[in-house]
Amino acid sequence: MRNGGDNRGRLLLISLIVTALFLITLDLRGVQVITGLRNGSQSALSPVQSVAATIFRPVGNFFSDVTQLGRTRGEIERLKASNEKLQKELIDRKNADAELAQLKSVLDLAGTAKYKVVNAKVISLGSTSSFTQTITIDAGTNDGIRQNMTVITGLGLVGVVKISYPNSALVQLTTDPAFKVGARVAGSQQIGILSGQGTSKAVLQLLDNQTTLKVGDVILARGSVNNRPFVPGVPIGQVTSVDNAAGAVTQTADIKLYVNFSALSTVAVVVSAPKEDPRDALVPRAPVPTPVPTVTIYAQPSESPAP
């Protein structure tokens, strides 16, 4: 065939090519037999493939891992970096969410009382080595903050601005032992002086010996002349215990402060207050008790065996 070849070989070649072309034509015309052949072969092969996959897949994965070793290592490094970044973002997000919640609550409070406030972030907690309790905020005179302005959060009174710098301010906290504020009892409007104690509790001393306090009374800031250093109506805390000592001139009470001073991140400085006293508008709403379902169990004594 190489040198002219025999007709038989040539005929065979032509027959095979024609057969192939015939198959292509049939398939392109959509003859079902051809499709069936392919599906049938796959059906027959699939059990073998399943077994082979079970046996050889670990080997295949090994080869795949070997060939992609550098890429896999790079991928691990990239994923680690990505994971660290995402974790940092998650922490930032949690911080932002907490700050947002505080900001929202403080704006709710300020909005209710129609206070004009400047929001600020707590940038440092003052040293307690000299027995003072202060914080530094990131807003100062450039933001309209002056000395003796009330500082609040969504929960209530935080303290008062003691010193104001261009871009920051020092705030004396309600818990500071030197802190004193004129206070009144919501509802009865009895007045007194609330003093910080260096803890989360403060002490209220009533001015009038004819009035009485009871546990659960809400204490609000009474307000100062021209609203400085204190604007009226800011919630301070709640009476937890009353001292009814026989020899005391006036009644005193322990006050649990509303603000959580260990979790301060965002505060608001009241730069101006409305002319009208909000009175008891800012008294925190009493929590609504959640009904607890009662579970009743019926016990049926089993029959005791006959003696």
Partner: protein
């Protein structure tokens, strides 16, 4: 004689085909890996006469067309493999210098794999198949040449031994 040889070869090709479809496909190798069946068929064709090579190509192409991974119409692989089997065999037939040199055979097989795939691609284009990006085509062709060149020397002794045992022809290299 052709029919006898064809039917003797058929079980071996079926076995290699099953091996290719069920085992070789489990390995994720560079550039899509290799086609053991294609290399085997080309080596087998190279050891016979051109007519036998064409017939071998026909059988091999028919099996390749039955694969679910074949994108073209039934008969596309058959047509290409008939021509490839014939051509590979024709190149070495009667030339003992060529057939007696394994390097030449390995080179022919590796080149044939690339050419066959390229022709399959072009024919597929005419028949309306999608071919993907140029880069992926290039990478696939390059890797098939690489794998063929790497595997053909390993397969060649095995193929020649089986061929010799079956057809009693001194084709060992």
């Amino acid at each position: 004689m052709f029919a006898r040889r064809f039917f003797i070869s058929l079980p071996i090709f079926t076995f290699i085909y099953i091996l290719q479809e069920s085992v070789v496909t489990q390995f994720k190798l560079f550039g899509g890996g290799f086609s053991l069946f294609l290399i085997f068929a080309l080596l087998w064709s190279a050891l016979g006469t051109p007519e036998m090579g064409a017939l071998t190509g026909f059988g091999a192409g028919l099996l390749m067309d039955l694969s679910q991974t074949a994108s073209g119409p039934m008969g596309q692989w058959t047509l290409i493999m008939i021509l490839a089997g014939f051509a590979v065999s024709y190149l070495g037939y009667g030339d003992d210098n060529f057939r007696g040199n394994p390097i030449s055979l390995v080179f022919i097989v590796a080149a044939a794999v690339v050419v066959i795939r390229l022709i399959y691609l072009i024919l597929g284009l005419f028949l309306g198949s999608d071919i993907g990006s140029t880069w992926s085509v290039f990478l696939s062709l390059f890797s098939s040449a690489f794998w063929s060149a790497a595997l053909a020397p390993l397969l060649l002794p095995v193929v020649t031994r089986i061929h010799e045992a079956l057809f009693d022809v001194k084709s060992r290299i």
